[in-house]
Amino acid sequence: MSILTSLGIVVCAVLIVALMQLIPSIFLLFSHYTSGKYSKNKASDLVLFFTLGVESMTVLMIAVIYFVLNALFSHLSINNNIWAWVWSGILIALAILYFVFYFGKSDGTRLFISRKCAKNFQHKITTVKKRSDAFVLGLVSVIPETVFTLPVYVVLILKIMLVGENPFARAGLIILAVLIVLLPLAVIRVVLDSGRNLADVQKYRVKNKTFLKFVVGILYIILAILIIMETA
């Protein structure tokens, strides 16, 4: 049961992060613009640096969370049961927030970020010329969604810390936590390279928006239940 709940926690956490939509939205628009504005080589280069930016910020975030959790658990005696219930409460609240607020009320895939922030991203996407611009855009794309992904990363990193002395399990989980954010970008890249365009991908996203809301909301709730089960 303990191995199953641990596996369930990792799978839920990983799926929630992979199904988030802000970074894929920015990546989709960025790929579209660079392929229309620049040559194929330059567009690929800029997309690569955007991806590196996203990955760098993710790694930094994970490192900071690991450091903070390590410090917290070393210096404070935190009751595991209380911690589990509090964190589950946070995840259930996020499930409700995600379902109600994540996607805006428009008929597209407008997200919860303010329109000014969205317009800033769009402006940055259309004015990127250099690798450094693409890298910084990638770095910044990760930040607005941390309100939904940070608690999930905390759960994942706690799992990494508690997995014991097995170096392979630890390394595997760390690599998973670091690379999972790239999965939706890889899928979009493959789809665009196969001949589809922004219109095809966006129509698919709009069509499955409601389904995605349900899936991610339920995943948050399952994750909350699994955390409580594990400490019970």
Partner: protein
Amino acid sequence: MDDVLDEKKFKKTLLIDAKAVGIPVGAAEIFIDKSIKDAKKALKTKKIITENDLERTVSRELKKYNADLAYVFKNRDKII
């Protein structure tokens, strides 16, 4: 003077979208020009033309030539 500058920028944005969607640049230039011309004709009777009016009308004209380009043009603000 402002009108000319806006139209140039407008056409440039549409050409970028057209290239990204996979339309050959030469063909895109022809039907983008035609769509903007037809849109201006359709809006001639309006005293005040807002950006929304222009975008809606151009999107309707573009749809006659390429549905994907029209979709991208109409929905580019609804992705993020």
